[in-house]
Structure formats: C-alpha cells, structure tokens
Assembly symmetry: C2
Homo-oligomer: 197 residues x 2
DNA sequence: TCGTTTCTCCTAACACAATTAGGAGTCTCG
DNA sequence: CGAGACTCCTAATTGTGTTAGGAGAAACGA
C-alpha cells in the first residue's frame, strides 16, 4: 500500500527545491530568501520548516541534487579510446556542465555561500563524482597526482574565467581543445622522460 | 595651514578600513558585520555612516585598496629578459599575492560578495592593474588575445585550486614552474607554426 | 570673544531575514 | 468514529543594515 502522506511530503519538498533553484538562478545564490521561496510556493515562510530544517538545509539539498546531476552527466560521456580526443571530450563536458548552470557551479565547486558547509552525506555524493572522474582519467592514461592536479587547475581555470568574464559567450570555451593539446603534449613528454631516465 | 578636521576624518576612515580587513580575514568576507566593526572601533553602528555611506561602500574601499596593493606588488617583479624565467616569476608573484591574503583574492578576483559591485572608480584601479600585467606579458613576448586568455586561465586555475583545496599548503604552488614550462612550449610551437604556414 | 557652522557620535526606530513557539484545521488509519 | 500525525498559520524573537533627528564639541569668521 502506498504511503500517500510521504509521497505528498516528498513532492512538496521537491517543489520547494525547484522554486529555490529558480530563484537562485535568477537572483544569485546569496539572493535566495525563504520569504521569496515561500511566496512562490503559496506558503508563509515558517511553513517551509516542515520540509527543511533551515535555509542551509535547502542549500544542502541543492548541493546534493547538483552532485547527483554531475554523476549523471559524467555517465553520458562516450569515450573513444584515443587519449587526446577523450581529454578534449571530458574537458568540454565539464565546462558545459558548469556553464550551463553557473549557480550550480558556484554551489558545487566554488563553495562561496556565506556560512554553508555541505553535510557529510551530500559531500559524499560530491566526492563520489570527483572520484569517478579520477577513475575515468586514469582509464585514459592520465595518472599520478601531479598530472591530475595540473589538469584540474587548467580545466577549472578555463571554466572560471568563462563564467566570470564572459558569461554566455565562448571566449575561453573555444580554447579547450588547444589547452588539452598543450596539456597532452606536456604529459606525454613527462612520461617519456620518466620511462628512460 | 593644515586641515586638521579632514586629516582626522581620513585617519578614522583608515582605521575603520583596517578593522574591516581584520574581521573579514578572520570571519570571511560575508562574515563582516558593521556591528563588529563599530564595536572594535569604539562606536555604535550608525556612527560608521559618517565615514562610509553603506556597507557596500566599505567593500568598495577595500576593493580599491586591494587593487592598489596589486599595482604596487607588480612593480616589485624584476624581470630577467628570459621569457620562460619571467613567466615563472610572474606566475609565482601572482599566486603569492593571492594566497597571502585569500580574502583579498576573493574580493578582487572572485567577486562573490552578495550584492556588491565595485564602483566605476575602484574598478578603474583594478582594470589598470590587469592592463599593466598585460603590458608586462606583451613585453616578454606573450602577445595575442588567445595566448593571454590561456595564460590567465592557467594561472588563476592554479591559484583557485590552491586556495580552495589546500589553503596554507603548496600542492598547486609547486606545479607553477611545470605549468609555465608547459605553457611556454605550447606558445613557442604556436608562434613557430604561425611563422611558417 | 561670541555666535554660526560643521562635524561626530548617540539614541530611537524601521525594514527585512531567519528562526522558534504554539495552536487550529485536516488527513489517514486502526 | 477517534487518535495521532501532518500541514500550515499567526505571533514573536534575534540579528543586521539603515534612516531620522538631536546633543555636544570643534573650528571658523566677524
């Protein structure tokens, strides 16, 4: 027998979360207020507390949802087996994922919301996503902590510049292929040097 | 004849600004409250409005000061004339400047304070700093918009990862030389290719 | 020297946001 | 039907930015 009560509760919770995303995307993460959320959902602010323990709990749910989306997104990447091609593919997917929803990017990767720290639970989802990414990269031959750190710096740097300084454009997006070629040449040389010292 | 009134006013303003920096560094940019500032300065919060028109005006003054520090910092870099060496030097200076005071970095380059937008005046100082940097890079042979954009992405990426994921450490700082070698090799090749098409 | 102006700082009060307390209506299930 | 849980409300508290308006001191001109 279905638990109608729990179902409705969940569905209201989801609705609130959806509205929260809408407002956050329109007003910025910091511009999200429970007052606005409540109003758009047809409630008074205190009523939201039946669904979320605090505003931070809302952020946390958004964080968890974003992390889950990140995992799903990754599953869509179809690798070819050629390292350079795959690097370009992965980088482009990552930047696309971030620029498609800058608010989500800010929440997941910049962590710049006033006092917010994700709960252990939500954080675990996020870590899982990054771990999955690490495995994928290891699978195409990018291994070793330094090579990975350099790659993350490069890709997040492109993403960040794109979002901060040319939102909606492609000024840094169009450098992705070039950047991956540069990175690939560098890593190849390093590995060769490592092989025959 | 000295304008003692104006002098005292300026000095109080500077004191308030100093306290604001202290609190911001300790509590985070978003954790800055006028209440705390006033208390540490020995005033009531409304009294601060004799010196700054609003909280944003305080942020703006901090922004302008940070931008000025960025300009001074740059003046200290002594170039050698060798492109790769100078690239490493500049990158290291930049990352040092940012990691030395992450709060300032957040204010100047991340622009993540709730509703804050720098005034045209303060912004001009900031633009001047970046323009100066561009000139310096052009001087050592890094020219062309794409080469510059790629470099800024790389350097800010390193900075960002360092501050976000290993504050106080050197996990990304120690990749700077390697990153600049990678970048230099790439740009050299591009230029050669451009020379003989 | 004495008003006048200006500056500095204060108290009182408002607006807005998150949050808590407590209660009335409503749904679900035994 | 009645008990219990659930949903939503109003009222009130706290913290923060900000405005209004005034008292006292400092500087300045006649």
């Amino acid at each position: 027998m279905r638990d109608r009560k729990a179902e409705r509760h969940q569905s209201t919770k989801a609705e609130i979360l959806g509205v929260a995303w809408e407002i956050a995307r329109a007003e910025g993460l910091a511009g999200l207020t429970l007052r606005d959320v409540a109003h758009r959902v047809g409630m008074r602010p205190p009523s939201l507390y039946s669904y979320f323990a605090s505003k931070d709990a809302v952020y946390d749910a958004m964080f968890a949802q974003g992390s889950r989306e990140f995992l799903e997104w990754q599953a869509k990447v179809e690798l070819t087996g050629d390292t350079l091609t795959d690097l370009k593919l992965i980088a482009r997917y990552f930047v696309d994922f971030c620029t498609e929803n800058p608010t989500r990017y800010q929440l997941l990767f910049q962590r710049t919301v006033p006092g917010f720290e994700p709960s252990a639970e939500s954080f675990a989802v996020s870590v899982e996503g990054l771990e999955e990414l690490r495995r994928t990269l290891a699978g195409i031959g990018i291994t070793g902590p330094e090579a990975l750190d350099l790659l993350t710096a490069l890709v997040t740097g492109l993403t960040d510049q794109q979002i901060s300084n040319d939102p909606g454009g492609d000024r840094w997006i169009r450098l992705i292929d070039q950047a991956m070629e540069m990175y690939f040449a560098h890593v190849s040389k390093r590995m060769k040097a490592g092989d025959e010292p």
